[in-house]
Assembly symmetry: D2
Homo-oligomer: 185 residues x 4
Amino acid sequence: MDLTAPTMASATKTRAVYVLTTGGTMEKVYSERTGSVANLDSKIGRYLDLLRLPDCQLNVVPVMNKDSLEMTEQDRILILGMVRAILRENASIVITHGTDTMVETGLYLQRALPQLETPIVLTGAMTPLGFEKSDGLQNLTESLLAVQLLRPGIYVVMHNRVYPVHRVRKDHALGRFIWTDAESQ
Amino acid sequence: MDLTAPTMASATKTRAVYVLTTGGTMEKVYSERTGSVANLDSKIGRYLDLLRLPDCQLNVVPVMNKDSLEMTEQDRILILGMVRAILRENASIVITHGTDTMVETGLYLQRALPQLETPIVLTGAMTPLGFEKSDGLQNLTESLLAVQLLRPGIYVVMHNRVYPVHRVRKDHALGRFIWTDAESQ
Amino acid sequence: MDLTAPTMASATKTRAVYVLTTGGTMEKVYSERTGSVANLDSKIGRYLDLLRLPDCQLNVVPVMNKDSLEMTEQDRILILGMVRAILRENASIVITHGTDTMVETGLYLQRALPQLETPIVLTGAMTPLGFEKSDGLQNLTESLLAVQLLRPGIYVVMHNRVYPVHRVRKDHALGRFIWTDAESQ
Amino acid sequence: MDLTAPTMASATKTRAVYVLTTGGTMEKVYSERTGSVANLDSKIGRYLDLLRLPDCQLNVVPVMNKDSLEMTEQDRILILGMVRAILRENASIVITHGTDTMVETGLYLQRALPQLETPIVLTGAMTPLGFEKSDGLQNLTESLLAVQLLRPGIYVVMHNRVYPVHRVRKDHALGRFIWTDAESQ
C-alpha cells in the first residue's frame, strides 16, 4: 500500500520539521505604547505550543520579523540560504510569511531550487495570531499537515486550500488567495 | 503538473464536504446541572464557524451523539448508510467519532466499501472542543485539509498525523493513537 | 446591617444598567483591508454576552466610536446629554472611553453634575477586546460590579482599581492609570 | 470626599490580597485518562495571570482541592485557621469554593469571626475555568474588586452580584445564587 507522496514512506518515524518565521501579519502584535500593530517579537512558538505534535521534532527558526512589503532581495537570499541548509537534513519546511509578497518569495525559491526533493509550504495570516477571528492557527495547523502529504514542490497553504505557488495570487479585494488561470509554470 | 491525489484534479472548483458527527469526546459538553461531561448537543458547527473555508460547500450532518463505547452495530450500519448516500454525490467525507472505537468503525467501513474511490477521514478529540488544551479544533482543521489530499481509503487523522485505518490503534496509556506493526492491508 | 453604599438598599431588585460606549482602544478592531486597528463598529455587546448578569436589565447604547484623542467638546456635550437622560431613570451608568482623555471627560461630567446621586463609572482598555492579553473584559466586569457598590460620584475603574476621577491620571510611560497626589476635590 | 468603605482609606498603597483556594467546580480539570472532570490540581494561578493587578501583592494559597460536597468539619477548621492567620496581616481575603456548600462555609466563618474588621469574599463557578462559557474568571475578577470596596463582613460574590452570606442560597434549579427573604442576621 502506498500513500499520496513519497514522504509518507517514512511516516512512522519521528520527523524533523522546521518552521522558518519571517514575520508578516501572522506575527504582528498590538503595541499599547503606540496603539498600533507591528512586527516586534516572534510569537509563533507560543501558538505552536497549543498544538499536539507527537513524534515531531519541531524547530522554530526566527529568520526575520518583517512586514512582507518591506522584504528585500537580501532577505530572500537569507531565506534561501536557510532553506538550502535544512534541505541537507532531509527535514520538512514550513515558512511563515506576510501575504503581500508570499507568492513572490515562493517563486523566487522555486527558481532557485529546481531539483527540489521535498515539499516546502508557505503560509501566513490575514489577522494576527491571538486576535479575535484570526486565521493564523488554522493556517499553521494545515501547513504542518500538508507538508507531510504533498509531493516535492513549493506551495501556499491557507484557508483549507493547497496552491502550487505558480498557480496562486492574493486577491486584495477578497482578502484571500485565489487560483490563477495559468496552467504552465 | 500533478498533485498527490486524483482528488486534486478538480481542486480549483468549489468542493462539497460532508462532516458526519457521531459524538465522542470532541462533542462533550459540561453540564452545570450534573457537574459532569456528556454528549448532549452537537456543537461542532459552532467551532467550524471559526475556520475559513472558502470555496467549500460544508454540510454538517449530526448522525448521532454518543460516547463511542456505547456505539452499536446498528449505529455503524446507520453511519455506513449515510456514507454510501454521500459517496454518490462524489463529495469529501469527514466523520467525527469517539476515539475508543474509532478504528473499529473505520475497519467496518473499509470492509463494507472495498471499491472506495474517495478518501474518508475519521477524527475525534482527547479533550472536548472549547475546553482548555483541547485538541478538537486542530483535528478538525487537519481532517478538512487531509481529505482533499489523500488517495482513496479510510484514514484516522489526529494530532498532525495521518494513519491508514488498518495501521493504527489507540494507546490508552499514552492517550493517543500510534502505528501498529502490521504492514499488510 | 447595612452595606457600603445606599445603592445597595435595593440590591435585591432587578437593576437597570446603561453602558454608554464611546469607542477608544477597547472597541478597536483589526482591519484586514488596511492592516491596522481602528474604531469601526461597536463590539462591546459581543463581549458582554460572555458575562452572566442575572437580574440585570442591561442597555448598551453606542453613543460614538472614536479614538478619545479625537473627541471634541461637542462629543462631551452629547455624552452629558445621554447621562442626564439616564439619571432620570435612576439607572446605573458605565461609560466606555479611550484612556487618553477619559479623565478629561470624567472631570467635565463632574463639573456639569454637581448634585449627582448615583455613581458613574468610566472604563476602557489598553488592548482591544478580543486581542491576546486584552484587559478589556476585566475592566468591563469590574465596572459593572463597582457601579453597584460605590457612593455617588464619578470614577475611573481599571485594572482592579477604583479611582475617584479627580484623583487619577494616565501614566503614559507605565501604560496605566495612577493616583495623583491632590487630595482636594 | 470619602469612599464606600474604610478599607479604601489606604487605597493608594500597595495592598496584600490572599486568594485561598479550596477546589470546587472552578478548579475542576478534564482528565483525558478518565474522560471526566475532577479536582486534581490547583489551576487558579494560571487564570489570575490573565488579570492586570498593579499595586497588588497577590498570594495564592492552595488550601485543599475538593468538591465542596465532600468538605468536612476538619476542612472548615483548616480554612478558618488560614483566615485567622491572614487577618493578623490586615490583608484582603478571597476564598474560592465549590458552590454547593459555599454558604455553609461562609456562615461557619461568620459565627467564628464575630469581630471581623475586613471583608471576606467567597466565590466559585458553575463551569470550570477555561471551559467554554465558564463564569470562573468573571467571578474571580469581581471578587478581587469587591474585597476592596465592601465593609467588614462575609460575602458571596458571583455573577455581578454581592450577597451578604446570611442573605443568600444556591438555587439548584436555576443554577445560581439567589437572595433569601430573611432580613435579619
